[in-house]
Amino acid sequence: MPTEYAFPDNAAKTADASQELVSEKMSVAMGPSHPSTHGVLRLQLELDGEIVTKCDPILGYLHRGDEKIAENMTYNQFVPYTDRLDYLAPLANNVAYAIAVEKLANLVVPPRCQAIRVIISEMARISSHLLGLGAFAMDTGAWTVFMYQFTEREKLYKLFEELTGARFTTSYTRIGGVARDLPEGWTDRVLGFCDQFLPILDEMLEMLTRNKIFTDRTVGVGVISKEDAIAYGLTGPNLRGSGVPLDLRKDKPYSGYEQYEFDVPVGSKGDSYDRYLCRGEEMKQSVRIIRQAIKNLPGGAWYAEDAVRIFAPRKDKVLTSMEELINNFMIVTEGPQMPAGEVYFEAENPKGALGFFVVSKGGGVPYRMKIRSPSFCNLSILPKICTGVLLSDVVAILGSFDFVMGECDR
């Protein structure tokens, strides 16, 4: 491992390369409104012909002040804001946030709640990876895959809607549980989705995996070495695509992930193609986890019953018991009462490790909430790997990174 990282002086590097032909470099702003920056990322590129000699990502076009908002909201009030971090997998964000705060409160949720959270996290992973896959395909020019995956996502949305009432801004988890139990027959419909999803996924992957044009566009493009991936703090499929078998679901199991059998796909070269393959395989593993979780779905409570001052009491109790009514009022107005302390928890989200660093001084409102967003960390390697590639490669690299500006800028 190198001890010091030098920040390459890109200008000097390319000056060497172009000594024979003195040419003027072109500065191009790619974004913030550009079809392949997936949101409002802006890349300030310096081009030597078609070759990118310098890439300076400019973020913050979607900085909405989530961390500041968190400091002014009770813990439960902030749940909807976590939906809008990685808005492709809100359920997984909800879960990560809830577990972080539960750690602060030293709260253990019952097994049924854990299993529900695993199921929804994995469904969110499928939903997010599908869009990542489709967007990647679209960036390389294969429009139709993009449309196909949306059909599958619609089926997922239907299930989410049945469970939570919203298509993707779900706000389903609460501190100490989930908002409500699974609807009747929902698990069967999830299994039904899984059954029909796998062949369709194979069909979609078939359109790309062995496609000569697609492999030409992606193999060897945007190679990230193992060491770089770790040094730049990459997580999720981007890290695993580089051959680092780090998956927090396996290595720091939370929410009962240790009970489930699944494989962690790992890439070999760390190029865009490997990242794509990892995502494809992860969806299949998610289906595996969902099936196991539903098969062994424990009964019992879906919220921590001992979390009296944290989890709002059930509606029927609120309406019948004075004590519960007061309790409900306290939880809503003051927020769930938390001890003072600092916790950091990160969950393996579709995009990578989504971490919440919660600093509490007690009471119902966090004192400081730092959100460690995977997209932010993943993108930080862009200046390095987007140097010396062709302009079209930048598009392929961005597609393979599968980032979401909502959580990157927060």
Partner: protein, 210 residues
């Protein structure tokens, strides 16, 4: 190295006498003087296997607190799958600064820029310390405790557009909006979620600039 906090501390104190334990809800955490921070982090990376810098951030411990700012590093070991939190307090309360670890982990580059942007902690020897989330030239550091959630009126980043549209980055109206609460334990009346608006409410007239 999923060590118990006490073990981590004793192992580190052998080399860095100034390191003290820090209360933590979960992972081992240590306090370190700012001067020793980089040496400690380098030691942790090279000899303790904490090769993954998860996060760099800062905390503003309130306007009157001293030391007011702390910098927090979260480390992770890809080998042993353990976390470690390293916290160092900034010497100055008005011009906080901390050493940059961007040379140890390139990942720190953007995290430090973000901390500088939102909290105003300057990182010495950072290769390119610019704002990252707010625009260049934004005069405030929004995550500081004296900065209101609604914001402070400044011109738009593009002056021309600001001139044409006469829009500014005006304070967000809080009336009827999301009800915000206050942190810490206090009496119910104050902690109760309410519309906290600095600029206008039901009694005061809505300013024209909005």
């Amino acid at each position: 190295m999923s060590l118990a906090p006490a073990e981590v501390l004793s192992a580190l104190q052998g080399k860095f006498a100034q390191v003290t334990a820090r209360p933590s809800g979960d992972h081992p955490a240590v306090n370190v003087p700012m001067a020793d921070a980089v040496a400690l982090l380098r030691h942790l990376r090279d000899e303790r296997g904490f090769d993954f810098l998860v996060d760099v951030t800062g905390i503003d411990w309130d306007v009157d607190a001293s030391p007011r700012f702390s910098v927090v590093w979260h480390l992770f070991s890809t080998r042993d799958h353990g976390y470690l939190r390293v916290v160092a307090a900034c010497a100055s309360d008005t011009e906080p600064s901390a050493p940059s670890v961007a040379a140890l982990w390139p990942a720190a580059d953007w995290h430090e820029r973000e901390t500088y942007d939102l909290l105003g902690i300057r990182f010495e020897n950072h290769p390119d310390l610019r704002r990252i989330l707010m625009w260049e030239g934004y005069p405030y550091h929004p995550l500081r405790k004296d900065f209101p959630l609604a914001g402070i009126d400044v011109p738009l980043p593009d002056l021309e557009v600001g001139e044409v549209t006469r829009a500014t980055a005006a304070p967000a109206p809080m009336v009827g909006g999301p009800f915000v609460a206050s942190t810490g334990e206090m009496n119910l009346t104050e902690a109760e979620p309410r519309a906290k608006d600095e600029s206008w409410d039901e009694r005061k007239e809505k300013p024209d600039t909005l």
